[in-house]
């Protein structure tokens, strides 16, 4: 199968005046369409950093990341996030002043998806992650952490991007919801030919993915 994201010898450090943190020291891997991946590892091992690199939110210090053969350094990374890669953040990152529905609609409006279609997709995805219609008009701060997390997932799924990058998407979910979310993500990969990459601490969830990478102190190791 073709590789959609290729990580070539990537390293990344956070630099500040006072110190330099080598968050990712060495990462080499590739991600394909139609498959689901898990990245596991201890806290602070550099998982979120790698995800930011994959999302084009940061640029690698060394090496390169290719999306369909093009380096993230050279492409329009805003357009890439808008049209190709959807990110689900560890801390949800919802707009506090927009309702649940509006939050989900937002990324679709950015892509220019017509109102009616956007609304249908939003309703479908929200329902899929277990958000009830009476919650559509609430604001994120009026939801529980798990509900906010599910809204964030729905927002990423509704956008319809082919790469889904999720940072601990099930971190705040109970077993039932978390299984449901994992089902959805796996179905997207296998049925809709998308590339799903999730970071998780949950060994069971990792085991359900097609492939698992382990982050060890900034070094990415592949385990099949």
């Amino acid at each position: 199968m073709e590789s959609v994201l290729t990580v070539e010898n990537v390293s990344f450090s956070y630099r500040s005046k006072y110190q330099t943190v080598n968050a990712v020291k060495q990462a080499d891997c590739s991600f394909e369409r139609g498959r689901a991946y898990a990245i596991v590892g201890k806290s602070g091992s550099g998982k979120t950093t790698l995800l930011s690199l994959l999302a084009g939110l940061e640029l690698p210090g060394g090496g390169r990341i290719l999306f369909d053969g093009r380096s993230t350094k050279e492409m329009d990374r805003d357009a890439y996030r808008r049209d190709n890669a959807a990110v689900i953040y560890q801390n949800y990152n919802l707009f506090p002043l927009l309702t649940v529905m509006e939050n989900v609609l937002y990324s679709m409006k950015l892509k220019g998806i017509p109102n009616k279609e956007a609304r249908e997709r939003a309703e479908k995805e929200l329902a899929a992650v277990g958000i009830t219609p009476d919650q559509f008009k609430r604001f994120p701060p009026q939801l529980s952490g798990g509900e906010q997390q599910r809204v964030a997932i729905a927002r990423a799924l509704a956008a319809g991007n082919e790469i889904i990058l999720a940072d601990e998407p099930t971190g705040n979910l109970d077993e039932g919801n978390s299984a449901q979310v994992v089902d959805i993500l796996l179905r997207l990969a296998h049925d809709e030919n998308r590339c799903v990459i999730i970071i998780t601490h949950d060994a069971e969830i990792a085991a359900r993915m097609d492939r698992v990478y382990t982050m060890r102190d900034g070094i990415l190791e592949g385990t099949d």
Binding site: E58, D78, R82, D83, N91, L97, L98
Partner: protein
């Protein structure tokens, strides 16, 4: 996208309203100051143009301004277009008196150049008059106004007056011997007063004076300056014939007083006001513009997290800038437009708006250009 912007704005009405009021207040302060400065400058200009400064001929001591018995040399000097005062003055008022005995008693035949020359005629003071002769003040005809009480008696007829010119020095000419002759004057109106004086036009009295003694003289002269800024020039020219009034003077020469002290005081005060405002204006303008700038800056800065979020969802730098400016500048723009129109000072309002916008723009550079993850982390 615009609807999302409006929704976000409406969902924090307190914040939007506070920002709006603050922006309006700052903009108002700026417009107000400019308007205040303009009003003061206009008042100064108005005073310069419309304040009437008069010059009055008096005796050497400056104590009396009527019955001066000035010979024709002074009259000529005032009326001289080349070497005299004529080019600089306007609304010239002159009086020539003759002694007059009539059935009304012993009084004066007063020749005046205009109703304002004699307070008994001047309706803006306590006087007033009526005449059925339209060109009364310009005419050389021997007609007169009698006191109000005598008008019924003489209306349409004549009054016999024995006239004596007290000015008898002829200068170069020969003195006529008609002094004390009787003239019949047409009664063409009345003035408010109850003495024995009759009032004639200045030219008519000059003509009568000529008939009586073959002399020309004048008893009172006053005038207004055409241009108030020329007061010193007029003083200088007048110094050829007139002295400055001096209470202890024993001189027989007449003096000229240009009554511009009040005018100068008023002008000085207005000029001080303008200067004070102009000194105040840059500082306060700077303060309100700086405040506008910071308001714009802080209002965008406070939303950095939201804007960083938008970046992570794929809003490009240019689009973000446009959206942020639309969101943050809509209300201030309305505000500045309203204040500018209401205050009638669109330019300062525009400048205020520009500063506010510049503040917003500076603050939006960070979310637009910096890595969004860095911003989100920093905001947590």
């Amino acid at each position: 996208m615009m609807t999302m912007i409006f929704k976000r704005m409406l969902r924090r009405p307190g914040l939007s309203l506070a920002g709006l009021i603050l922006a309006a207040a700052l903009c108002f302060v700026l417009c107000f100051l400019v308007r205040y400065r303009d009003a003061q400058a206009a008042q100064l200009e108005e005073t310069r143009k419309t304040y009437v400064v008069r010059g009055v001929v008096t005796d050497a001591r400056g104590t009396k301004s009527n019955n001066l018995c000035l010979n024709r040399m002074f009259l000529d000097f005032v009326q001289d277009e080349e070497k005299g005062l004529w080019p600089y003055i306007t609304d010239v008022r002159m009086i020539k008196n003759l002694e007059c005995e009539s059935d009304l008693g012993t009084g004066l035949a007063v020749g005046v150049t205009s109703p304002e020359t004699d307070r008994r005629l001047d309706a803006s003071l306590v006087g007033g008059y009526y005449t059925d002769k339209a060109d009364f003040f310009e005419s050389k005809d021997f007609c007169c106004l009698v006191p109000e009480y005598a008008y019924e008696q003489y209306r349409g007829g004549q009054i016999a007056c024995r006239l004596t010119n007290s000015y008898t020095s002829a200068g170069l000419g020969s003195v006529g011997d008609n002094n004390g002759a009787e003239f019949k004057l047409d009664v063409v109106g009345w003035y408010k007063g109850d003495g024995a004086d009759v009032i004639l036009s200045f030219p008519a009295v000059q003509r009568l004076g000529g008939r009586l003694t073959n002399t020309v003289s004048v008893d009172a002269i006053s005038f207004a300056l055409k241009d108030n800024t020329q007061a010193d020039l007029v003083r200088e020219i007048a110094a050829k014939e007139f002295i400055r009034p001096d209470p202890s003077s024993l001189s027989f020469r007449p003096a000229l007083t240009i009554q511009d002290r009040q005018y100068r005081a008023a002008l000085t005060e207005l000029e001080q006001n303008v200067r004070r405002t102009e000194r105040l204006l840059p500082l306060s303008a700077f303060l309100s513009l700086a405040a506008g700038f910071f308001m714009g800056f802080l209002s965008v800065r406070g939303e950095t997290r939201t804007y960083a979020l938008m970046r992570t969802l794929g809003v490009g730098a240019g689009r973000l800038t446009a959206m942020v400016l639309a969101e943050q500048l809509l209300l201030p723009a309305l505000c500045a437009a309203a204040v500018g129109l209401i205050m009638g000072r669109p330019l300062p309002a525009l400048i205020y708006f520009a500063c506010h916008a510049a503040g917003c723009f500076l603050a939006v550079l960070r979310p637009a250009l910096a890595a969004p993850t860095k911003l989100l982390r920093a905001q947590e």
